[in-house]
């Protein structure tokens, strides 16, 4: 999952980068706003100072104007008083006040010039003009009324100037308050937006993560499914390959085993060569066993299907399993719940259980517990999609051990033929592939759950059968008579097998004529019309195949019984091609006795008036 997270990591890195950029941008905007406000405040402070200085000077001018009025109009009285009392006035004279006022007006002008107070220029000019007029009138012989008027307009101009600054200062304060009022809400707004964006980003990331998690689960499921399909395709391909090879082996082994058997029959008990022939026979038998296992994997349809109860089967094997497993392994069988019937080959299912038990035993070298449980289960449509199996009712058998377990790679390859983790000579690598083939043939499914050192669990599901369980089991055949003197026609394209059949049947007393192909066989039928009792034919031959041959031969020899032999697997044999003939099929390799036994049974059936039986697979070689 971490690798997958890394796969989508670029999305998160992109989001984090965007969030970072937004935060940086917002921080820059806030800092810029604060700086602008600070700069505004500095400028406003400077202007405020200008107004305060101006109003202060204007206020002083107003006081001096009052003082000047006093001096100008009371000085006359004072001079009169002085002249009467002979005392000279000591307070500053009007001209000195006028000079002071002129100085202040000059300072005001400088102040205006430094601060660019153009809007106050007209008023200041009036102050200068009126001050000059007052100075001129006060220094001359002007009427007192004119001086008073001039002083009044001067006073008004000073008041105008003063109030102009008061008004300007008032506006400035309002502006300052406005700026102060606006910034915090603006910053608050930005912060609020950031918080909202942050929450939204957090939610988006959460949703994205969930979405990615879901996507990764789907991708994982898809990958698993693809892996399963690939695995199945690989196993199918292997099955086809193995089936083909097994056929050739079967032909060879039929000849080897047959000839060896005949040679052994011919040798007296004390013959020196018997031991060597017995070794050949043993090796060939072992090879035949291996080939059968291969065929079980590759030829799963080739089985004797029967409706059965899996709990009965498992419970019936308990004793045998205990003998197979070492004493250090505890066997727990939980097959006491009634389950639905299934349709499968009983012998093959036994092999499945045995193989799994043997594997489990090998997986628990220091002992442990092997649990086999059987129950009913239902696979829903959703589960079916996830697990890659069809939906429906199944009987489930779980075989669990507490052994060394498997890693993922081993699990993937577990069902491959010849794949084994066992030491050389201990395993063939066919056990689990056989299990897989058998379960598949029963339309079932097998899965492994395992971890190293945590045991393995094999979960086998076989679909429930709608048929009823057969009351009868497999028939136990009594000891049979296999020899005879009947006339048998053998049609086989493989010379070695043909020779073996011819020789083997003759040894059992039969009169045998052999033909290498269908046309030669038909010639014999024509020539020996009405005299042939049994026809043994290979199913797959060059030219006419066995079915075509048997169809024509039955017309020429209507009383003869027919037997097909074949080393091919069912998926190659076209059953529909000979199903209607009701001719039994004997699988290679087989012992000559098996063939003779089958001939006898068929002849016995003919003689008892049953005619040709329904076609079925026959003999242990077909198992």
């Amino acid at each position: 999952m971490s690798a997958d997270t890394e796969k989508y990591g670029y999305i998160f890195r992109y989001i984090y980068a965007m969030v970072g950029i937004v935060l940086l941008g917002a921080a820059t905007v806030i800092v810029a706003l604060v700086k602008v406000q600070q700069s505004d405040r500095d400028a406003l402070d400077r202007i405020a100072y200008f107004h305060i200085r101006s109003t202060t000077l204007a206020e002083q001018l107003r006081i001096e104007t009052d003082s000047l009025a006093g001096l100008l109009f009371e000085e006359d009285r004072a001079e009169d008083t002085a002249s009467i009392a002979g005392v000279r006035q000591t307070r500053p004279g009007a001209s000195a006040t006028l000079q002071t006022m002129a100085l202040k007006v000059s300072r005001l002008a400088d102040l205006q010039a430094s601060y660019g107070g153009a809007e106050f220029a007209a008023t200041l000019q009036r102050i200068e003009d009126h001050l000059a007029a007052v100075t001129r009138l006060a220094g001359g012989d002007a009427e007192q009324g004119l001086v008073r008027d001039a002083l009044a307009v001067l006073e008004l101009a000073i008041l105008q100037f003063y109030r102009q600054h008061v008004v300007a200062e008032e506006l400035l304060i309002a502006q300052l308050e406005k700026t102060s009022e606006h910034l915090p809400p603006l910053i608050g707004f930005i912060v609020a937006i950031l918080v909202i964006c942050g929450v939204a980003a957090w939610l988006a990331i959460r949703m994205l993560k969930r979405s990615i998690d879901r996507r990764m689960l789907v991708e994982q499921a898809l990958a698993d499914s693809q892996q399963r399909v690939y695995q199945m395709q690989k196993l199918d391909a292997l099955g086809l390959l193995v089936g083909g090879i097994a056929h050739d082996f079967n032909n060879l082994l039929t000849a080897i085993l047959g000839q060896t058997s005949l040679m052994l029959d011919d040798r007296p008990e004390d013959d020196d060569t018997r031991e060597g022939l017995q070794d050949i026979q043993e090796a060939a038998t072992h090879a035949a066993d291996l080939t059968r296992q291969l065929l079980a994997f590759s030829r799963p349809q080739d089985q004797e299907l029967r409706v059965l109860d899996l709990t009965d089967l498992v419970n019936g094997m308990t004793g045998m399993l205990r003998r197979v497993l070492r004493e250090s392994i505890e066997l727990q069988v939980r097959a006491d719940v009634p389950v639905d019937p299934i349709e499968a080959d009983e012998t093959q299912l036994q092999q499945v259980i045995l193989n799994l038990a043997i594997n489990a035993g090998d997986a628990m070298p220091k002992g442990g517990t092997l649990t086999i449980s059987v129950d009913n289960t239902q696979v829903s449509a959703a589960e079916a999609t996830d697990a890659g199996i069809p939906a429906g009712r199944f009987v489930r058998m779980v075989v669990a051990d507490t052994g060394v377990g498997m890693d993922a790679d081993t699990q993937q390859r577990a069902f491959e033929p010849f794949f084994t983790t066992k030491t050389r000579g201990r395993g063939t690598g066919l056990g689990l592939s056989t299990v897989h083939g058998i379960v598949g043939a029963a339309n079932g499914h097998i899965s492994i759950t395992s971890r190293p050192d945590a045991g393995s669990v094999f979960d086998i599901r076989i679909p429930v059968s709608e048929k009823r369980i057969d009351a009868t089991g497999s028939e136990q055949r009594p000891e049979e008579e296999i020899g005879g003197s009947e006339f048998v026609l053998v049609v086989e394209d493989e010379a070695q097998i043909r020779t073996f059949l011819q020789y083997g049947l003759r040894r059992l007393g039969y009169r045998v004529v052999a033909a290498p192909d269908a046309d030669a066989g038909l010639d014999v039928c024509e020539k020996e019309r009405g005299r042939i009792d049994a026809i043994v034919s290979d199913l797959i031959m060059p030219g006419k195949n066995g079915a075509e041959f048997m169809r024509e031969a039955s017309r020429l020899q209507p009383d003869a019984v027919g037997i097909f032999i074949s080393g091919y697997t069912d998926d190659i044999i076209d059953r529909d091609g000979f199903e209607d003939l009701g001719v039994p099929l004997l699988r290679k390799p087989f012992d000559i006795r098996e063939l003779a036994s089958l001939i006898r049974r068929e002849l016995a059936a003919r003689d008892s008036g049953g005619g040709r039986r329904s076609r079925r697979s026959a003999g242990p070689g077909a198992g």
Binding site: M18, L156, V167, E170, H182
Partner: protein, 292 residues
Amino acid sequence: MRRFLVLLLLIPALSGCADGDPPGAYLPATIRLGVLPDQSAYRLRARYLPLVSYLAAATSLDVELVLSNDYPELLDQFAAGELDIVNFGGLTFTQAEARSGADPLVTRDTDLAFTSCYIVPGPDTRSSIRDFAGEVFAFGPRLSTSGHLMPRHFLGLAGIDPEKTFSAVRYSNGHDHTAAWVRDGEVAIGAVNCVILEALLRDRRLGPGEIRVLETTPTYANYVWAVQPSMPEDIRTPLRDAFLALDATVPEQRDLLRSLGANGYLPAARSDFDGIRLAARALGLVERADGK
């Protein structure tokens, strides 16, 4: 994310818009001057047309006198932008300020020192307004700044609730009526505009000793020339300077000033009307639409 960034960039721009001038720059072809319709149209024209001529000459702007039929129409015209500069009374200014953000421009020197007088009959010797508790009190018209609004405001500041202190509160049709009621003993005490009272005494419409001023209110601003808030500085400043430049020492301007009842004009500040604004709000005559 992209939208968010755009929004972020827009914030300063939007805040800039909020602080700046409203869209649609103010550019009147003619300055339309309005006045309080407190006299007949004839008298108003006689009084203000010389000012219109002066302003036009001083500012080089076209100035036009627009008369209103009544106070509400004046306020409506100003709110609709049909008037650029108006001579408001104290109360009407606070109303125009609340309604359409009127900016005070200039005021007469005399306007800043308005007072109202609490008058009693001449022979009455009581010395305090509180001495008249339980008697009948008379204000001028309800919407009069000097006859009702400000006298009531200052009574309130002194802790006197007229309705609770006096046996009855009556409203006259004018300052002269209030003075007559007091003189004739119809009410024990009344509030009038001090300037009008002076005029009544000067015109002998009140005889000497018939009325006595018991107390005078603190000064307050009353009339003001106010302009549209959207008026640009290059129009506002010449107009203000023209008013401020009126010089009583210049003969023709002296006559103009005299007809306007002023010695000269002073820049008006919004704070000059703090008291009247407070009083108007207390009486519910002004909404707090401006948020102040």
